[in-house]
């Protein structure tokens, strides 16, 4: 019954977007209730569909959109386990953040624009999730990108926000171009397969060429090298969207937007779209040939290494940032790296289990990271600064925020009790990833991804507790009178905290459900499903040990202050300098590539040609003035005297006579 209304999941926020955009200014709270009601509706429908289809149903609805040659594109909805868990998470988190934003944005004069844009964002994100074909996926993906651009630059009068928005847009564009190139290659390949009668490949009735279903069915027929290129191009899109190395630089800068935007878009939902893309097209990744490492599909190997490296690389920068939101941003980049790592490593040895592992971390990350951001927002709201050096001693003033943030930090650090199966959401999800990476190492003998994962886990624990101790304990380092946020902000915090604590217990059911995804779609992954593995005790304990060790290090340094950090944190220390300057990525990215190469060389040359040669010479002196002059002359021909008009008509008849005679020949 609910599945009949699946399209409404997207349409409700779209309607809310239009209404809020036009009427928001006249409504209380900038029209915030419209998107809240719409997203609540989407959540209810999603939940209804989930109850309806669990455990092995799938909703598929498709209509033809347009034809190009012999192939027809479609618009459609596919709700499988993968999509439904994402749907529930996105609608739920989005709903909570919208409610929180009523309080957070209450003083902003442009709040109706804010709510309209976040509503459109939610619609586009839900459309990404629901797409049953790669084209619609890409279009929604682009709309998501536009919303992200608009919201990062929400305070566009701030130059840094405008610059960050531009950077985010341009950097993710690199990924998007790669993604689009992948789609084009895939389309050409599929069209070739269909045209060749030897393949006997037909698209069933009601199915369309770029549907995921068709893509998966065609996998065995796609040229293997082509498949590697296509999947790597797709992954290029995912790298851009999910802020993976080397396209990670935009995400920390994106923190210039309102904190709620950071929580919604740059932590919980949009940035996970890249992971979702890889999970969605996982059968293609898994089917790539293993030319580099035996038994490991090339594409998954790349995913594993990029993900693992990003996880570690971003965590190192998280250690030294002083802006509370930037720490969280690097943490997000790092955790997204974990999700990619899971898809790559576990994908190579455990097949579709990897999708379950990665998605589980994605969902639990969404809860605790959204919570961290909202807590950060609550702190910023109270003390009026982003700099953790100016905070301190906030525990007694904002108890709810402090406690919920501590829970989120525990979850991020993956603290729990092994063997008893008690722990935070992050404990279950991250453990599985690290164990998956270990299993990968066992099977292939390549322990590097595992090392990435373990070291990053230690750093994660350090930077997040550093943040917490510096903000909430010790003596207040500023004079500002701070207070707890209003309940419209604290209640979403508490709800998310409950989820960050207890969501982990759903892990067995969750894995089984999401793993069955491709089976339900009738796709043969062609990957050997690994033996149920029994890692040694130390492997199971290690993630928790590093988490606790990290906590202790942070506690000793930042709370007890047994170590004087001022020696390490000095501009003389080259390592600190390197980290604090973010590996000089902004310098390389913005100054070298952006300014020197693109602007100074390419753009200036282009401008010279355009301005001096084309514009100056051709447009100005020749074309433009000539057209204007001709226009003026003809304008004078339009005398307004009707006799002249009649004469011209008769002249026209004569002209036609001459022309037609010329064509027919002879009179």
């Amino acid at each position: 019954m609910f599945s009949d209304f699946a399209a409404l999941i997207v349409l409700l926020p779209v309607i809310a977007f239009v209404l809020t955009l036009f009427l928001g200014k006249k409504l209380p709270h900038g029209g915030a209730y419209l998107p809240i009601a719409a997203i609540a509706g989407s959540f209810i429908i999603s939940a209804g569909i989930f109850l309806e289809i669990y455990p092995e149903g799938i909703v598929q609805q498709s209509i033809p959109w347009f034809s190009s040659g012999s192939s027809t594109m479609n618009m459609g909805i596919l709700i499988d386990p993968l999509a439904i868990v994402m749907l529930l998470m996105v609608t739920f988190v989005s709903l909570l953040i919208h409610i929180y934003a009523v309080g957070y944005m209450s003083h902003d004069p442009a709040k109706s624009r804010y709510f309209a844009e976040t509503s459109l964002f939610t619609a586009a994100m839900l459309s990404v999730i629901l797409s049953d074909n790669i084209l619609q996926f890409f279009i929604s993906w682009e709309v998501v990108g536009v919303c992200s651009f608009l919201l990062i630059g929400f305070w566009y009068h701030k130059p840094s926000a405008a610059a960050a928005a531009k950077k985010a847009f341009l950097v993710t564009r690199i990924g998007d171009v790669l993604f689009l190139a992948g789609i084009v290659m895939l389309y050409v390949e599929l069209a070739r397969i269909i045209e060749n009668p030897a393949n006997a490949f037909e698209i069933g009735s009601g199915n369309f060429i770029l549907q995921f279903k068709t893509m998966f069915e065609a996998i065995p027929l796609i040229d293997k090298t082509q498949l590697t290129y296509i999947t790597l191009l797709f992954f290029g899109g995912a790298v851009g969207k999910s802020g993976q190395f080397p396209l990670h630089g935009w995400l920390p800068d994106a923190m210039e937007g309102p904190t709620t935007v950071s929580a919604l878009i740059h932590a919980a939902t949009m940035v996970t779209a890249g992971v979702y893309l890889v999970a969605r097209t996982f059968p293609m990744f898994a089917a790539t040939p293993d030319t580099i490492s035996h038994g490991v599909p090339d594409a998954l190997l790349v995913v594993a290494y990029i993900g693992g490296f990003t996880a570690l690389f971003a965590a190192t920068m998280g250690l030294v940032m002083n802006d509370i939101k930037r720490v969280l941003a690097y943490s997000t980049v790092s955790q997204l790296g974990y999700m990619m790592l899971a898809l790559g490593t576990a994908g190579a040895v455990l097949g579709s289990k990897a999708v379950g592992i990665s998605m589980f971390h994605l969902i639990s990350h969404a809860f605790f990271k959204a919570l961290l951001f909202l807590c950060a927002g609550s702190v910023i709201h109270a003390v009026g600064t982003n700099d953790i050096r100016e905070m301190g001693g906030l525990f007694s003033k904002m108890k709810i925020t402090a406690v919920t943030m501590f829970i989120a930090a525990l979850s991020l650090a993956g603290i729990g009790i092994p063997f008893l199966n008690i722990g935070t959401a992050g404990f279950f999800s991250k453990d599985m990833i690290i164990e998956g990476a270990f299993e990968y190492g066992e099977v292939t003998g390549d322990m590097i991804p595992y090392a990435f994962a373990v070291i990053a886990a230690l750093l994660t624990s350090i930077y997040i507790f550093r943040l917490w101790f510096m903000a909430f304990t010790g003596k207040p380092r500023s004079e500002r009178h701070s207070h707890e946020s209003p309940s419209v902000m604290t209640i979403p915090l508490m709800i998310l905290a409950v989820l960050a604590l207890f969501f982990g217990f759903s892990h067995t059911g969750f894995y089984g459900y999401v793993e069955s995804n491709f089976e339900l779609m009738g796709v043969d992954l062609g990957v050997h499903e690994g033996e149920p593995f029994h890692p040694s005790v130390i492997v199971i304990l290690l993630p928790v040990i590093v988490g606790v060790v990290g906590f202790l290090i942070a506690y000793l340094i930042y709370n007890k202050r047994i170590l004087d950090m001022s020696k390490i944190i000095s501009s003389q220390n080259p390592l600190y300098k390197l980290l604090y300057n973010r590996y000089y990525e902004p310098k390389i990215g913005a100054d070298l590539i952006g300014v020197k190469l693109t602007h100074d060389v390419a753009a200036q040359t282009g401008e010279f040609i355009d301005r001096k040669i084309i514009d100056g010479l051709v447009i100005d002196t020749i074309i433009s003035s000539t057209i204007f002059k001709i226009g003026e002359v003809i304008r004078k021909m339009q005398t307004g005297v009707v006799q002249n008009y009649a004469s011209i008509t008769i002249l026209g008849v004569a002209l036609l006579l001459v022309l037609l005679r010329l064509e027919f020949g002879g009179i």
């Binding site: 959109w65 001709i630 002249n644 008009y645 026209g652 008849v653 036609l656 006579l657």
Partner: protein
Amino acid sequence: MNLNVNFILLAPEILLTVLAFAVIILGLLITDRSKNMLGYISAAGILASIVYVLGNGMTGKVSYFYDSLVVDPLSQVFKLIFLIVSLIAVIASIEYFKNNRNQDEYYALILLSTVGMMVVASANDLIALFVGFELASMSTYVLAGFEKKNPASLEAALKYFLIGSLSSALMLFGMSLIYGITGTTNIPGIIDFFSIAPFAAESSLGVLAMIFLVAGFGFKMALVPFHMWAPDTYEGAPSVVSSLLAAGSKKMGFVAAFRVIVLALVAIRADVHFTFAILAIITMTYGNVVAVSQRSIKRMLAYSSIAQAGYIALAFVVTTQMSIAGGIVLALGHALMKGGAFIAVAVVGYMVLSDNKNAKNIDDLSNFAGLGKRAPITALGFFVFFLALAGIPPSAGFIGKLLLFYSITIEAITPTGVLTSSWLLLIVIIAILNSALSIYYYARVIKYMYVLPPVGEKIKEPAAYVTAILIAVVGTIGIGLYPEPFINMAMNAANIVLGV
């Protein structure tokens, strides 16, 4: 053929005719103040006809009155165009002619001109064609001069009437020559005659007849050099009537040309594409070049309308199914874009007049400064119509131009990539350059609307105008986003044109 056939497919024409008389009679009976309701009645009648046309006659072919009228996909597509334009114009007129004591005559004339256009769309006989032409023309002559206190409106009407009469005379002369050659006025009969005796069509008399017909139809289409009346008339006539003329009555020429000239050319397998190519190129280039230097938006729209006629006329150059379908889609799109744009000008006029009752040059470019702030929906409408007219996706203008340009390109280049006809490719290049040029004058207005500061307060846009503009906006973008059914409709109609 007997007269006992079921007239059900002609219901829209019958309904509108009856409605026209009903409106006049009702106008005599009710007070001047309650005449405002006549607009609503007319709009309802037209809406009902649209629904009816959409639901009936889209396939197959039925003929009436001894084969003088025919209902087939071609007639239905064009009836749809005429009815939509007429609907937009009537809805906008509810505001434009509010409290005018001659509203009854106004709506009756609009309805009758619509019926005239629909008769032309269905005409299968030269006499019926001529009668339809005259019915539509006579009504619009009066409509153009409907603001009888405004000298510009009267001048517009008079010029339109004089040049129109000249064209009617030429057309009628052409028809009589054809009757002299073939001995029949029935169009299929004429086609049959020419296909048996193609030399008769290529004789001096046949060519002369064809030229006269082209001149007559070209007058309606505003093809250069038969366009001279158009800028003066569109500028002087009330904006809602300009909308009807530029968007609707212009297409009458196209449907007539499709039915008579293209069919005849196909029958005699004559290769006169070169002539049409020259007409099309001259028309679009002339329209675009002159539009560049206009400051009156209505004049600019008039020249842009001439340019669009040039694009649509590209359909005659290769006469393939796709090119004709492209012409029809662009005609449909143009009806929406240009119809909507003239209505939007009416809003600007309303805005300027409410600032200052004695304002002159109300459609001057300077009045568009900051329109985005003063009248946001109207400005949005202009924005959509201009981008669509320039052929930017997703819009009806883009789809139409795409089909037209593509159809000519595939004639010029074989599927294997061999260039067979370089002059056809040259036409496409000229047409694309023309599109690029047109962006200049459209973008200039957009700049005025959104970049320059507003010159007055925000106004309340009247609901009737907003409705009319939104119908056109939705149609323009809708066809661009979901072109499939419209292309199929046009392809079916093109089959009729080609006699398949």
